[in-house]
């Protein structure tokens, strides 16, 4: 490479600033590793406005220490977008988004072990008419696989700098930064043959795009080519639509081709691959290697008809156990900290409404947010490991057949399984599902998987339901399994229903790369985990905090004139009134207004039901649950007429209510964030709570009719 020109004097950008780079590449090409290596901790993570696609911008430094902005775009195989993530890549690179200026230059990362397919994206990128640097990553693995890549020839053929590197250990990064610092990056001179039948359409579209859509000539050509392969163009919020004129030309050509039976998009793809094939034949030399590659040997076990299940079961059991058991310690610790903090506030602030707002509203709400962090951190640590080793794709491969029965694909398996622990990280994990409808269906049904917050309710009800001081283990386990089965059955049933009605889509696809197994990079896994946790705190945390203050207000006001016990006070509050108003609606399920208060207050989180029952039945002050007296108090509770309130049938019905009802404000907040509107979380509350009511009605009334 020639010596870089002094960057300041000859900078072609206004004000002598350094160029803004976009980092693009195929999934599994080591893009995040390279981005982390280039920018270190200087990253800003947010969202593209209007879509749930992560927007990552970082800063790296030129050879003279001046900052260079790098936009990390989502991994994609092609600029012809099939998902919102891919649409963002396309729109940012084409300068179609108002919120992100078109990047000046592009670094395209390429997996050297998989050159042919990776070059397809490079081929499209070179058409964009922007200076491009190709980072040829994983050179060490390519050598180990017996591939000899002639970098100089590749550089010559593509007409842009090609920098061999190994992002995992930083090799080649200095050279890459040096190339990025150059003031005079060449534009690629590469030319390829557009099929003759299509070439006139490309020129006509190009001219129209330049004239009617205000595109620069080079971008116009790239856009014209893309319009032809992008038929069902995924439109995302924030991207500008085509002018009418261009749109008319496009549909005119398409009509003509359909008549003539020309496969225009297919032939464009084929001609790109034809050229890539010729190029690879020239630059890649394969030496014969001994035996099959390591990945294939691992896969003989990992996706084996018998061992595959054993491995999958083991990995899932480990994931599950660690969320359940490991998370418990920090969660208890957080609960303890929050309790002692609110005790301290109680000590220093004068008694009154303000003090209660701080302790019971704000601090309790904050505790309710932070308490999810351990589970989120553990889950994302594991998911990061599974993803970066390559196992995640195998799990999806194995489970796909089962998931396809309800119209989902294998990618939905892990988010749903994680939801057994907690729907919040489960829903956050749906980002790996490419198809936006599949992703939405998974989000909608995930809270039906029986999460750990339901356990306290189940346990209390089982204790109240089964007579005797000691609950027989068999009955307890049987009831628990019944609840889990109901939840799981419900989730799959609704997924099936939604895929057939509300979110009907193209037949599900399972076109997925099985990447080579790799050792995970702890640094990337940890960074990813922290990033997720930060997003949860910032974006869902505020909603959770707000709802908990509202719920505190509802259970506290209006206050009676004379000081009373906590029991009388909650009965007097808005929530108490609401419980009484609600009674006619829930009476057919066997619930009275006191249970109604529990249902309202436990919208904060399901386990709050237990402490609310404690307050209402005068057993405790709502802090620190001791189930034994509460169980007795529940058994003693009566309807005004003297009939037992918590009959075994009511206990069972109440458990079933908690299986189906959407009783979790944190889930609502996360769904709002992940779907970017209030529409889906409100729909979710409606369908889940509606189902709960109907199922409970049937169970209770049938139970009554049978004499229970």
């Amino acid at each position: 490479m020639p010596d870089p020109a002094p960057e300041t004097s000859r900078s072609p950008f206004p004000g002598g600033r350094l160029p803004v780079y976009a980092l693009v590449g195929n999934p599994n090409s080591g893009k995040s590793t390279l981005f982390n290596a280039l920018t270190g901790l200087k990253q800003k993570v947010g969202n593209y406005p209007g879509v749930t696609v992560e927007r990552k911008v970082g800063t790296t430094y030129s050879q003279h220490g001046r900052p260079i902005t790098v936009i990390d775009l989502p991994g994609t195989y092609s600029l012809a977008a099939r998902s919102p993530d891919e649409a963002i890549v396309r729109d940012v690179l084409l300068g179609r988004r108002a919120d992100t200026a078109q990047p000046d230059r592009i670094v395209c990362i390429v997996d050297a072990t998989n050159l042919e397919r990776n070059l397809y994206l490079v081929h499209q990128i070179l058409d964009l008419g922007r200076p491009v640097i190709v980072a040829l990553n994983m050179m060490d693995l390519a050598v180990a696989a017996g591939l000899d890549i002639r970098v100089a020839r590749l550089e010559h053929a593509l007409g842009v700098p090609v920098i061999p590197c190994e992002a995992v250990n930083g090799r080649g990064l200095v050279e890459l930064r040096l190339a990025m610092s150059r003031a005079d990056l060449p534009l690629s001179r590469h030319r390829w043959d557009i099929p003759a039948q299509i070439a006139p359409a490309v020129s006509e579209l190009q001219a129209s795009l330049a004239e009617h859509d205000g595109k620069q000539p080079l971008i116009a050509r790239a856009e014209a080519l893309l319009l032809l392969t992008d038929h069902d163009a995924v439109r995302v919020a924030g991207s500008t639509p085509l002018s009418e004129r261009t749109d008319a030309i496009l549909s005119g050509w398409k009509r003509r081709w359909v008549e003539l039976d020309v496969d225009w998009s297919g032939s464009l793809v084929n001609s790109r691959y034809d050229e890539i094939g010729r190029l690879c034949a020239e630059v890649v030399r394969r030496s014969t290697r001994a035996g099959p590659p390591v990945s294939d040997r691992i896969d003989r076990v990992v996706v084996h008809p018998v061992w595959g299940w054993v491995v999958l079961g083991g990995v899932m059991a480990l994931l599950f156990l660690s969320i359940f058991t490991l998370a418990e310690y920090p969660m208890n610790w957080i609960d303890g900290r929050v309790a002692s903090l609110s005790g301290w506030v109680r000590g220093v602030m004068p008694p009154g409404d303000l003090r209660d707002l701080v302790t019971d509203g704000a601090l309790a709400g904050m505790g309710g947010v932070v308490v999810f962090l351990p589970q989120i951190l553990i889950l994302f640590f594991f998911l990061g490991l599974l993803e970066s080793t390559g196992y995640m794709a195998r799990a999806a491969f194995i489970m796909d057949r089962l998931m396809s029965r309800v119209g989902l694909n294998g990618r939905s398996f892990i988010p749903l399984l994680s939801s057994y622990a907690c729907a919040i990280p489960g829903i956050m994990a749906t980002r790996t599902i490419e198809d936006s409808k599949d992703r939405l269906v998974t989000i909608l049904v995930a809270p039906l998987m029986s999460c750990s917050a339901r356990l306290p309710v189940y346990l209390l009800m089982i204790a109240a339901l089964l007579p005797g001081a000691r609950v027989p283990v068999g009955d307890k386990v049987g009831l628990m399994l019944l609840m889990y089965a109901l939840g799981t059955g419900g989730a799959f049933g609704f997924a099936w229903l939604f895929k057939r009605t509300l979110l009907k889509g193209a037949p599900p696809l399972m076109i997925m790369e099985l990447p080579q197994y790799r050792l995970p990079r702890l640094r990337d896994v940890v960074l990813h985990m922290i990033e997720r946790a930060g997003l949860f705190l910032r974006q869902a945390g505020t909603i959770i905090l707000a709802i908990s203050i509202v719920l505190w207000f509802l259970t506290t006001y209006p206050k009676p004139d004379t000081p009373v016990t906590a029991q009388e006070q909650i009965a007097h509050s808005f929530a108490g009134t609401a419980g009484r108003v609600l009674e006619p609606v829930i009476k057919p399920l066997g619930f009275d207004w006191r249970i109604g208060i529990g249902l309202i207050s436990s919208f904060a989180a399901r386990e709050v039901f237990v402490s609310t029952m404690g307050v209402i039945f005068g057993v405790e002050d709502g802090r620190g649950a001791d189930p034994v007296p509460l169980r007795q108090a529940l058994r003693d509770a009566r309807w005004p007429g003297g009939a037992t309130l918590f009959t075994p049938l009511v206990c069972l019905t109440l458990m079933i209510y908690y299986v189906f009802a959407m009783q979790c404000m944190s889930t609502v907040a996360v769904v709002k964030r992940e779907t970017n509107s209030w529409r889906w979380p409100l729909f979710q509350i409606g369908y889940m709570t509606g189902t709960a009511w109907i199922v409970c009605l049937v169970v209770y009334q049938a139970g009554r009719a049978l004499g229970y």
Binding site: R82, E116, R117, H231, V269, D296, A506, P507, M510, M512
Partner: protein, 82 residues
């Protein structure tokens, strides 16, 4: 052109050359973009434990696709190597 069969019909472990993808929906465009263009050799490596999806080797990497997708890929079986 020699006789073509569907990619879903060739035995596990065998090789074939892609001859065509008659379906033109965007989904099948993605299959082409993943490298399944006419003339490309593919190997059916294995099926998932439950028989579906399939894993194929194409252009030096592993790709999965469902049988229903593989039905839309026409291939010409190649004689077994070595």
């Amino acid at each position: 052109m020699a006789s073509t069969v569907r990619l879903s019909q060739i035995p596990v472990g065998s090789r074939a050359t892609v001859r065509g993808l008659p379906a033109r929906s965007p989904a099948f465009l993605r299959l082409r973009e993943m490298g399944l263009s006419p003339g490309t050799p593919v190997t059916l490596v294995r099926t998932a434990p439950l028989g579906d999806p399939l894993e194929i080797q194409v252009r030096g990497y592993s790709l999965t696709l469902r049988k229903t997708e593989a039905e839309n890929v026409l291939v010409e079986p190649l004689p077994a190597a070595d």
